[in-house]
Every structure is written in structure tokens, then in C-alpha cells.
């Protein structure tokens, strides 16, 4: 008779994962940003039947989660060495690398196929390209080879509103390209603010983030330049068919606030034992910024549906 004792049972951190561990593989916090911006894209495009919109949104969320799982599968070695990421399911020992790869590939295929059925082939194709771009172009290639990693890789995070827009309209338009550009230009200052106060982590694992390769001064300057370019691009959607007065006010105010925080960061030189207060504030502001701008887009869509926006200038 086999003697099974509790001491021979694998502990929680030895491969027998809980459901929550698999969910954490999908990077739920990143997923929330993706869901919100994709939802804004769907609503701004004129809406869709609520059931089809929900189904499309779930596909986009699952696709984003799948690319997160593939990212964690590939990056498990450096995740284990960085304080910010060492509690992730793979380095923590809760999920095997093979399981993460299978989950990532399976959910990628499922989300793309379902979006093709629920919405259209263009939206599904954009989702497939986004997953490929994030998992292969960014994670496997750019991240460890160039300080421009998050500039180019940021495109992956910028696609969700365009996918949401395509799911409703079946096309890529100037408006959806502008929404793409807002997130694309927002990504570098967002991540470089993080990289400034996590510099030691990135340097230790050899990821060539801009502060590691070009130094703090160059990074601070780049943060300000990108935030400055972002301002007119973020305001521009106000004058498209998706924009309106709420968007104009919120995008202008939020962009100026973002620029002001970026200015403070760009004027600083960190000292020994620096707490990086302005950098952390800029990182926080950047997150609120994205929610505010895309929230305003949703608010204008509701306003348009309720009372109409008669005479609002549509120049783009």
C-alpha cells in the first residue's frame, strides 16, 4: 500500500496553481487599461449591440491577457531577478513555464477566432497582429536589444481602441489612428518615469531601458519631449466625429497637467538615496491621464446619444 503523507504533497508554490495564479498570468492591471480603451473605441465609433460589444470586448481583453501570459513565459528569467516582478506566478513557482506558454497560445487563438465571428475579420486581424507584436516583436526582440524597446513596443498597447473601433465600423479611420497615436505617444513618458525609479532593477537584469543606456538626464529630456508632442495629438480627436466639448476640455487640461509633471521631472537631477517623488507622481498622473482622456471620449459619446452635438466642428 502506498503511504501518502502530507509531507510528500507538493506545496502551493510547487506547480499546483490556484485559479488566481493563472489569472495573474494575464496581467489583469494591464488588461483593465486595455478593456477601458477598447470600450472607449467601441462607444466612440457609434456603439454596437450591447451583447456583441460585450463579446468583442471580452475577446480583446482575453487577447491582451494571452499576450501577457506569453510575455511572462518568455521573461520568467528576468522577472525572477527584479523586485517588481519576482512575485509573478512563474518566478514564484506557482505556474510552470510550459503551462504559461500553452495558456498564452490557446487563449490567443481562441480570442482571435471568436472576435472574427463576433465582429469582423479586420478587428480579428488587428488583434492577432497586436498579440504577435507584443509577444514576438517587443518581448522576444526589442525589449532586450534596444533602448527604444518601449517606444516601438508601445504600439502593442495602442491598438485596443483601434480594434474596438474596427469591431464596430469594420474599418480603420483617421479617428482611430489618432486614438492609437495618443496611447503610442503616452507610453514612453509613462514607462520611462517607472524606469527612472526602477533603474537599478533594469540595470541588474540587463534590460536596456533608456535610463540604463543613455542615462538619467537624456531620459528626463525625452520624457518632456514626448509629453510635449502628445499634447496636440491628444487634443486633436476633439475635432473628429468621436470628439466633443467634454473631450476638448478634459484632454487639454489633462495634457497640460501631464506636461507640468513631466517638466518637473525633466528639470531634476536625482541624488543619493533619492525617493524619486516627482517621477512616481508622473507615473501616477500618466495612468490617471489615460483614464481621463478615454473617459471623456465615452462621456461625449453619451452626450451625443442623449442630446446631440449640433454644430460641433468636425475638422478631421
Amino acid at each position: 500500500m502506498t503511504d501518502i503523507s502530507a509531507t510528500s504533497i507538493p506545496t502551493r508554490k510547487a506547480g499546483d496553481a490556484e485559479f488566481g495564479d493563472y489569472f495573474r498570468l494575464l496581467k489583469p492591471r494591464v488588461m483593465s487599461l486595455v478593456v477601458f480603451t477598447a470600450f472607449a473605441g467601441i462607444v466612440a465609433a457609434g456603439g454596437e449591440h450591447p451583447v456583441v460589444a460585450l463579446a468583442s470586448l471580452l475577446c480583446i481583453a482575453v487577447g491582451a491577457g494571452a499576450s501577457g501570459a506569453l510575455n511572462m513565459w518568455f521573461d520568467s528569467d528576468i522577472d525572477a531577478a527584479m523586485s517588481r516582478t519576482q512575485d509573478r506566478p512563474i518566478p514564484a513557482g506557482a505556474v510552470d513555464r510550459g503551462e504559461a506558454l500553452s495558456l498564452g497560445l490557446g487563449l490567443s487563438a481562441l480570442s482571435v477566432a471568436m472576435l472574427a465571428l463576433f465582429a469582423n475579420l479586420l478587428a480579428a486581424g488587428l488583434l492577432a497582429f497586436t498579440i504577435f507584436f507584443y509577444a514576438v516583436i517587443y518581448t522576444m526582440w526589442l525589449k532586450r536589444s534596444t533602448p527604444q524597446n518601449i517606444v516601438i513596443g508601445g504600439a502593442a498597447g495602442a491598438f485596443p481602441p483601434m480594434i474596438g473601433w474596427a469591431a464596430v465600423t469594420g474599418e480603420v479611420t483617421t479617428t482611430s489612428v489618432l486614438l492609437f497615436l495618443v496611447i503610442f505617444l503616452w507610453t514612453p513618458p509613462h514607462f520611462w518615469a517607472l524606469a527612472l525609479f526602477r533603474n537599478a532593477d533594469y540595470a541588474r537584469v540587463g534590460v536596456p531601458m533608456l535610463p540604463v543606456v543613455a542615462g538619467e538626464a537624456a531620459t528626463r529630456k525625452q520624457i518632456f519631449i514626448y509629453t510635449l508632442i502628445l499634447l496636440p495629438v491628444a487634443v486633436a480627436p476633439a475635432f473628429t466625429s468621436a470628439g466633443g466639448p467634454i473631450y476638448l476640455v478634459v484632454a487639454t487640461w489633462a495634457s497640460l497637467r501631464f506636461l507640468s509633471d513631466a517638466r518637473q521631472v525633466s528639470n531634476r537631477v536625482s541624488g543619493p538615496d533619492d525617493a524619486f517623488g516627482p517621477e512616481k507622481r508622473l507615473f501616477g498622473t500618466s495612468i490617471i491621464y489615460l483614464f481621463a482622456v478615454f473617459g471623456a471620449l465615452i462621456a461625449d459619446a453619451l452626450l451625443r446619444a442623449l442630446i446631440g452635438l449640433f454644430g460641433w466642428p468636425v475638422w478631421i
Partner: protein, 64 residues
């Protein structure tokens, strides 16, 4: 040594995981059903879809 019983942490984890997978599968099935109903509704509203099956058959035989 402690004996392995039904209340062991291992069983609780697996039970929780299986319950969550069941809930996801049921949710997915309901979503497919709901989307199917909505898509069918679109076709019902489309006049070209309201042709009787006999007319459809004739059209098909005539190569239209």
C-alpha cells in the same frame, strides 16, 4: 506524518480551480448563445432573409 484527507489544501485548490473553469465554460456557452440570438435577430430584420425556404430553393436551383 499527517494523513492526506479530503480537506487538505491540495484538494481545496483543485476544487476552487475546477469550479472556476466550470463557471468560465458556462459563461462562454451563454455568451455564444446570446450572440447567436442577436445575430439571428439581425437577419430576421433583413428583408432578404425573409424569403421562404421554397423560394430560396428555387433561387438556388436557378443559380441565383
Amino acid at each position: 506524518m499527517m494523513a492526506l484527507d479530503n480537506e487538505h489544501d491540495l484538494h481545496k485548490r483543485r476544487k476552487g480551480r475546477n469550479t472556476a473553469v466550470l463557471a468560465l465554460l458556462l459563461g462562454f456557452a451563454m455568451l455564444l448563445f446570446a450572440v447567436t440570438i442577436v445575430k439571428l435577430g439581425e437577419n430576421v430584420a433583413n428583408p432578404s432573409a425573409s424569403v421562404s425556404w421554397g423560394e430560396s430553393l428555387m433561387n438556388w436551383m436557378q443559380g441565383e
